[in-house]
Amino acid sequence: MKITELFERGEFVVSAEVGPPKGIHIEHVVEEAKTYLKGVHAVNVTDNQSSVMRLGSLAVCKVLKDAGLNPIFQLTCRDRNRIALQSDLLSAAMLGIENLLLLTGDHTKMGDHPQAKPVFDLDSVSLIHTVKQLESGVDLGGNALVGEPPKFAKGAVVSPCSDSVDAQLAKMERKVRAGAEYFQTQAVFEPEKFIKFMEKAKQFGKPVQVGIIIPKSAGMAKFMNNNVAGVHVPDDMIEELKKDKEKTKAGITGVEIAARIIKECKPYCQGIHIMALGWESKVPALLEQAGLSE
C-alpha cells in the first residue's frame, strides 16, 4: 500500500527502519520484523547504509513484502548511475514495491570500501525528478517506456535540527518542486527545534514523519553528537541516560526519552519514523508509551 494514501486518510503514519545484513541469510531479520514491527504502517529498507556494503535493499523489500509487511525501498545515488537507478526503479515497480525514499547517500569514504568510486551521477533532487519522469511514461533520456508506467509514493529526507537549517529548508523546497510527496527526518532529540522547523516547513504542504532513535546509552548519545550530522542530544538527556545504568541498559530510559519526544512533536507532524538500530524489540513498548499502539 502506498504510504501517501495513509497520509491522505489522515493517519498518523508510523514507519521503522530495517538494515539488511552483510550476508545472505535474512530469516532472523524477517522474523524480527514480523514480531516487533507488525504495529507499524511501513518498513524502510536501507540501501548500503553508511556506505557499508550489504545485502540489497530491493531484494529485502521483496522478501518483507512477501512476509506481509509494507516496504519502503530506500534508493541512494552513491552506487548507481542514472541507467542503473532507473532500471532498479522499474524492477521495484514490477515486484510490487510501491514506496520509495530517495536520497543522495553518504560518500563512499564514510563506509567500508573507501577506495570505491563515488557515483553521484544524480542527486536526491534529480532522482525525484527522474521518478516523476518515469511515472509519466518517459525515461530520463526521453525514451518512451513500454506499457503502463510505474507509480510510486515518493519520499525524501530532511534534517530539521541541522546547524544550517535554512539551507536544508531550501533543499526541501527543491525536493517538493521536483515531486517529493512525503518526508522523513533525521533523528530529533530537540523537539523545540523540530517545532520551529515545522513552522517553516508546513508551507510546503507535505506530510513529515519525525525521525526517532531510541538512545541506548550516554556513550551512544555523545558519539552521535560528535559524528552524526544534524543530530544533537542535549546534556540533560545524556545525564538522564547516565543516572540509572541498569535501567538504561535495559532500554527503559531510552524508550521513555523517545516516547516523550514523540508526544511533544506529534501535534506538529504527520507521523514518526523509527530508526531502531538493532533495538527493534523495543519498538512495541515505545509505541505503547507514546500512545500509538492499537
Binding site: 569514504k109 533532487v125 534529480s126 534534517s159 536544508q168 533543499k171 527543491r174 521536483a178 544534524g230
Partner: protein, 206 residues
C-alpha cells in the same frame, strides 16, 4: 588545456536584462581558446542596446593580486554597475566573484576540458571543466569542486558545524554557496529548476 565557449545569447541577455553591466574579459592564457570574436560581437550588441558602464579586457584575472590591480582603475564603473559579466574560464570567474563578494558577478562562459596539457590551476579556486558552468546559480562558488559529491541541487544532509561529511577540515561547499547567495540577496537562485549533469559534454556530443 581548457576551452571556454560562450553561453547562449539568450542566457547571457537574460542575466543582464534591464541592468547596468560592467564587462570583464580575460585573455590571460592561450590555452583557454577564448572565443574572442563572438565575445566582441556580443559585447558590441550589449553596448548598443543596453547599459554598459565599462569594458575591461585584461589578463590573468585568476591571480587575485593581478585582478585587484587591474580592477582598481575601474572602481567607479564597477560601482555604477548592477552586474559584473565575466568572460573567462571557471577559475577566473570564481576569483572575480570572491574578490567582488558584494556584487552580482555572472559568467558568460562554459568551461570544457580538452585533451592534452592541463592548465595549472592557481591558488584555492578550482574548475572541474564541467562544460555547463553553474556559477551563475551558486554565487560564483563552483559546486563541482567545492562540494565533495559535486552536487548541483543543494546541500546534502551530511554537513556538521559547517564542515563537509567527508573531510572535517573542509568547509561544506553548499553551506558556502548558501551564505554567499544570502549575502548577495540571490537566494531565489535556489529555486531554479532541477539541475541534471550532462556528462556528454565531455566528448562534445551535447
Amino acid at each position: 588545456m581548457l576551452m571556454t565557449q560562450l553561453k547562449s545569447k539568450e542566457t547571457i541577455e537574460s542575466l543582464v536584462a534591464g541592468k547596468k553591466v560592467f564587462i570583464l574579459n580575460c585573455l590571460g592564457c592561450k590555452e583557454i581558446y577564448f572565443p574572442e570574436k563572438e565575445a566582441n560581437e556580443l559585447q558590441k550588441e550589449l553596448s548598443a542596446s543596453g547599459d554598459v558602464t565599462g569594458i575591461l579586457t585584461t589578463d590573468y584575472v585568476c591571480n587575485p593580486d593581478n585582478l585587484k590591480l587591474r580592477l582598481s582603475k575601474y572602481q567607479a564603473e564597477i560601482d555604477a554597475a548592477d552586474v559584473v559579466l565575466v568572460f573567462s574560464c571557471g577559475v577566473g570567474m570564481q576569483t572575480v566573484a570572491d574578490y567582488l563578494e558584494n556584487k552580482r558577478v555572472y559568467t558568460a562562459c562554459d568551461t570544457y576540458p580538452m585533451p592534452g596539457f592541463q592548465g595549472v590551476t592557481p591558488l584555492e579556486y578550482d574548475c572541474g571543466q564541467c562544460g555547463e558552468c553553474y556559477l551563475n546559480l551558486t554565487g560564483g562558488i563552483c559546486p563541482i569542486t567545492a562540494c565533495s559529491k559535486s552536487l548541483v541541487n543543494g546541500q546534502c544532509g551530511g554537513s556538521k558545524d559547517g564542515k563537509c561529511e567527508v573531510d572535517s577540515n573542509m568547509e561544506c561547499g553548499w553551506e558556502r554557496i548558501y551564505r554567499r547567495l544570502e549575502k548577495l540577496g540571490r537566494l531565489d537562485a535556489m529555486k531554479c529548476p532541477t539541475q541534471i549533469r550532462n556528462y556528454a559534454t565531455d566528448d562534445e556530443t551535447k
